[in-house]
Amino acid sequence: MTALEFTIVVWALSALAGFLGALTGLGGGVVVVPALTLALGVDIKFAIGASLVSVIATSSGAAAAYVREGYSNIRIGMFLEIATTLGAIAGAFLAGRVSTHALAIVFGLMLLQAAYQSFKGLADRGANAESDSLSKRLRLGGSYPVDGKRQSYGVRNVPGGFAMMFGAGTLSGLLGIGSGAVKVIAMDRIMRIPFKVSTTTSNFMIGVTAAASAGLYLSRGYIDPRVAMPVMLGVLIGALLGAKVLVNARVKTLRIVFGVVILALALEMILNGATGKI
């Protein structure tokens, strides 16, 4: 295939990935890597490099809106970013030591988890009003807009959240993904932070986490400009369109469709990784 054909195909696939990602919140990265490796035979290392770039692009693009609207909590995000960035560096170092077959299998397993999340849906647990003592000392609580008023909330179980964030960061550094779903689970379920605050704060954190592995990826040559270029531009446009459509979209249907697609991709990646095709 020629450079032009490759660029166009990758751009189109990335736009789709960005579009779906904006609608389901499950990140374009999870679609970009399988699309590149399975459909176009691109080596997984180039794929994760390009995917990491797309993660930063969508995070920085979308986060702008959430910070403005007063949902995301910068203190929570910043504090937890210590864990995610450390994890990302660990993950990036691991990526250098792990074989492409193993990477494909781990990626497939991660996708299985993502498919499960997509089918299950993440419901709002209901904001917990009191912070525990550590959270109080760290001043992690805040407030967010609910029906025009500001509703205050507290935070709990910082150590648990911190540990899970380290895991999220490691996955991000290892697979070139945003790990947004893991971050939201850590905040929503473990730290009892309101769902909308969790998702917007996670979005703000994803880019920083990805930037932590970017330097390492770049120095190793995982980020090839000819692959990353159409991915970045495609995902940005797709995400922009997705955000516009989001208002009218029936998210539940989308989650199911997305879940099925991700499940199929998961099985393919695991199979190909196990039989040595990736």
């Binding site: 080596d43 693009g61 203190r75 930037a211 932590a212 531009l233």
Partner: protein, 113 residues
């Protein structure tokens, strides 16, 4: 304010990547590509100084990489701006927290110099 900065940064990065991409395709659209086997690119494509030098010479792929570097800078800039914000609020704890994150990010970037 942070939001505007991020948006501007992403736009600038995207514009640079687009410009480099157009240049690359104009020159090399008929190239046969093969990304089947991972091979690390030339050292000049893997370090910030190499990339800048290459871009100054008009190499399209290097120009794309400059755009990618700008993109990578946007979240780092956000942390730096947040740190300044915390300092202005006299919030020493979170200024410190932001600084720690910046140090970790710097460590990673140092590998690309």
């Amino acid at each position: 304010m942070i939001g505007e900065l991020l948006r501007a940064g992403v736009l600038l990065a995207a514009a640079t990547v687009f410009a480099g991409g157009v240049l690359y395709l104009v020159r090399q659209h008929a190239d046969r590509i093969d990304y089947h086997a991972f091979v690390a690119g030339a050292p000049s494509t893997r370090s910030v100084s190499g990339i800048l030098q290459s871009a100054a010479h008009g190499h399209s792929e290097a120009i794309i990489e400059v755009g990618l570097l700008l993109l990578i800078l946007t979240p780092i800039a956000r942390v730096a701006v947040a740190m300044v914000g915390f300092l202005l609020e006299r919030d020493r704890l979170y200024a410190m927290v932001s600084l720690i994150v910046l140090v970790i990010l710097a460590f990673s970037l140092m590998h690309a110099t």
